[in-house]
Symmetry: none
Subunit: 329 residues, 4 copies
Amino acid sequence: MEYRRMGKTGLQLSVLSFGSWVTFHKQIDDSISDELMGIAYDNGINFFDNAEVYAAGESEKMMGRVLKKKNWDRTSYCVSSKAFFGWRGKQNKPNQTGLSRKHLTEACHEALQRLQVDYLDLYFCHRPDKAVPVEEVVRTMNTLIQQGKILYWGTSEWSAAEIMEAHRIAAQLGLIGPSVEQPQYNLLHREKVEKDYLDIFRTVGMGTTIWSPLASGLLTGKYNNGIPDDSRFALEGFDWLVRQWMEPDKLAKVKELTTFADELGVPVATLSLAWTIKNPNVTTTILGATKKEQLTENLKALDALPKLTPEAMNRIDEIVGTKPELPEY
Amino acid sequence: MEYRRMGKTGLQLSVLSFGSWVTFHKQIDDSISDELMGIAYDNGINFFDNAEVYAAGESEKMMGRVLKKKNWDRTSYCVSSKAFFGWRGKQNKPNQTGLSRKHLTEACHEALQRLQVDYLDLYFCHRPDKAVPVEEVVRTMNTLIQQGKILYWGTSEWSAAEIMEAHRIAAQLGLIGPSVEQPQYNLLHREKVEKDYLDIFRTVGMGTTIWSPLASGLLTGKYNNGIPDDSRFALEGFDWLVRQWMEPDKLAKVKELTTFADELGVPVATLSLAWTIKNPNVTTTILGATKKEQLTENLKALDALPKLTPEAMNRIDEIVGTKPELPEY
Amino acid sequence: MEYRRMGKTGLQLSVLSFGSWVTFHKQIDDSISDELMGIAYDNGINFFDNAEVYAAGESEKMMGRVLKKKNWDRTSYCVSSKAFFGWRGKQNKPNQTGLSRKHLTEACHEALQRLQVDYLDLYFCHRPDKAVPVEEVVRTMNTLIQQGKILYWGTSEWSAAEIMEAHRIAAQLGLIGPSVEQPQYNLLHREKVEKDYLDIFRTVGMGTTIWSPLASGLLTGKYNNGIPDDSRFALEGFDWLVRQWMEPDKLAKVKELTTFADELGVPVATLSLAWTIKNPNVTTTILGATKKEQLTENLKALDALPKLTPEAMNRIDEIVGTKPELPEY
Amino acid sequence: MEYRRMGKTGLQLSVLSFGSWVTFHKQIDDSISDELMGIAYDNGINFFDNAEVYAAGESEKMMGRVLKKKNWDRTSYCVSSKAFFGWRGKQNKPNQTGLSRKHLTEACHEALQRLQVDYLDLYFCHRPDKAVPVEEVVRTMNTLIQQGKILYWGTSEWSAAEIMEAHRIAAQLGLIGPSVEQPQYNLLHREKVEKDYLDIFRTVGMGTTIWSPLASGLLTGKYNNGIPDDSRFALEGFDWLVRQWMEPDKLAKVKELTTFADELGVPVATLSLAWTIKNPNVTTTILGATKKEQLTENLKALDALPKLTPEAMNRIDEIVGTKPELPEY
């Protein structure tokens, strides 16, 4: 396994990490998550990603049970949570969502309980919240750090300017700004990571923990001929993913990419994962899995890196046609 | 004339302003610029825009001569310059371009001499300069403010994150960040102003001085049937503008827009200008002109504002198809 | 016993202190360490030095057991730990070494558990870590102070410029910089303390807790005729010390020094220890010992101070030839 | 000519620059200095170095007369002065030397007059002054910047910790620290630049303007067979240079270096100059000259860079034996 510093911090994360989104509680039970986390850990993965909203808190509970049973040295891994959406769904009351000091603090406490750990290594603002002053967010995160409940804090799906605003306020107050962003990044969704964030990588030096590296599975090629019954797109509540990805244009690109992956002698999923970590501004790419074989296969992404020659990278850019154009200055 | 505060500053600028780019020295002589500036001033325009690079310094010299002759009360108008490109073109030596303290300082001195004024109201970094630390830029601009040589400083064509980085450094040092940005903005080029900058309008509150509101003249409809001999696109050294704008797709949109403007009973140029100042994040839209009639016509943009009903705005969006999609959060 | 303020802090340390490096767990058991710490304490020593890496954590555990058994008033002594090397040796994983917030925090927690104390009086960065931003180190140390887990923080074997960089960041953020450095210092290794650090003693006022005052025992004269079986140099894993010290040139100096000590009527070890605390920039010199007699003998260093007349100091400088030349300004 | 940014600043200096030390007024008159500065400028040199103490002020007066006569665009070159030693020699009274606000300010005024310029691009503290608080120095330099009398300030022959102390104070006060140091650096004097300053290049990012790149001429080989009558070492008041350099050991190294330079087919002086600018932490190497041919020859140092292959660099290190050993961490 390769490890990278998370942006300008001293923290080292494995370039491939393991996330529970969608799968935990919804698609897999304790015994499978135990098996998958074991495989991940044994292969050098040291970052396990979670959020209050994943399976309405059940995802963190399941991960907490596995972590307790595994009894790994707490210093050998990192675990995260994220607050914003709450976990009660349509029953969420005021202050049970968003980024107010009350919710950020209470959501942290709840995550610690569910995960059965004393502190989170990473704690994310799962989305921006324009109704809450950035100063309140920055101060609350710093209070949680002071209290020893979290070590680093981050953002997820914030705009570059929103991230910089948090840093501006932090600079003014002498506090710690966000050090990591969790953006979507994959061959079909590149603009944020490859264009919008360039200046923040260069200046404040954010790390990134990538979600949806396979475009919700589209880049595995498994939807090339329709939606299988046991797939994520067939799950209830994920219509928005289907709408986003099951477009003829995107499917056509994935098919062509699959052909190119075949030429390189590597599964298109592996190629797509390797492509994300080829980007030096990516700290870690989060893998989800429901089956042992799937995880084992995806862990081979590191071995596929040598296939990504400059020529191959150009060919991929031609196929997907998503490379953002950069400003002249 | 309507006046707007420039972002969060106390400065008031007329929503229409007058710029010398391209025209001064290249297309018009002292007598015409004298006439045009007179008309502008008499119609309530209080901001005259310039830059070291416009006509290699000759534009500022011409404006300086007119200002001296007019002898208007210095408190009744604002004048700007911009540094970055230098004015010696291919003869520029090291430190004669860019945003180092040496060039920003010396370029300011030179602009004051050419414009024959004691201070600039606005002083812009004409482009970002990644080779110079933002702290050096922020400190230099503040030193020039301390020395009374400039009143406000700004940026031009910086990314949202670059602008925020300047504000972050300024916050850290207790100094003044940029308070105005000069971006291109017109019906065919909207993403920066309507999407990228939204967060900085909301947080640090930048004002904007819009350049190219008519897409270098394309939105006047005068290129609808080719490039006239006496037009900007026919000038030497402006091939890049021709390449950028003379595209069939864009010309088609302009033609359709022209038809719609006819329906509304207003010239398409006037409509296009009015559309820019309809955006409350626009402080002022800079008009260029080579002829008296042209300027007089464009000054009517304010009168056309009532034509821009919600329905008309939607119709325009449909025609140009350039309205940026905003992120959900 | 004489006590000195630790640099510019208010903390008072005995000029001779007691360290567990090499000896604890490796050379001596609980009963001997109990006896030695008792002698030290009874003779007025109030600082006991330790580190996570010493005997892979066993050194801290042993000292913790002794402290618990002794049940001395917690306010009557100071205890330290140091983080950087980790304690798992070749099994160290990412984030289990270095100066990231994660390791500094977790190593502190582990040291508190091993030493069975509620807080450390001193907590050292055992080496510089160029891969971690100094800001992260400074902030983490201040967080630990805020949390009551440590009282003062320091560095060990950092360069003068690295120490000043920590103070620069601390000054910028209004935080507490390092107040003590633990450098090697003895008659054969003087440059850092007598030359490199002079400016930082004068400006930020670092205290110093000296390690290896006897050059790993070389200055006791016991290696004058080869390496005894029961000595440190005969231990496994300390080849690097042998290579560093068992050089003909150095041994010759020690022999000449031994002769001079005889003339003064004091053992060369005692003379060498006294010489370190003669330097007013030394806060405390750390003694290690495996035998009662050795410790008792070394405690007499204070009594030997009067022997170090200006003439004796000059003679010693001539013998060792290690006095650094200072810059003119 | 190649240009480099001066440390972390935006200023660009030519890698070879021209200094007046020793030569101006003492060895050459106005007509020769005019010729030499003309050659330097025409070859792309944009930095001219001076100091109050050089020839007791006469050096700056001479350079000022040449600059006035040349009438080069002020933005095309940089000029420096340095304060500390005063210029009245043994007649210096209190406050006519050192780094007090009074002397720094008055010395700046005097240098501006002698050099006949409105501002200095660089202004150096020629030595540290332990009798003056660093805060007074930092504040005075920032005041001079605010007043537009200097653009950047620096140090000369300060220790790494002294430079960092200035940066610490500047950080605390939100002021500008020194951005350039003028150290001696040549094949026989390497420790400061290659060891002591490494941390400050990495952290605060000082630029360097190198003096004595030829070890006062020793590295030209001209002293290989004794001191010529018309050489610097034969001048009155330069005995300290003779004592420093005319050592058998050093002369032997220079002779061997001369042989190696012959093998490479390049004069030893050219090789020695090229070697200094091979170091990326060197911003510019200052050339002195008394004759046209000498300057023309030395300007060829840039062409000699390709000769400095890794193998040649190793060979040179073996010959001079001055490469400093770096600490492990």
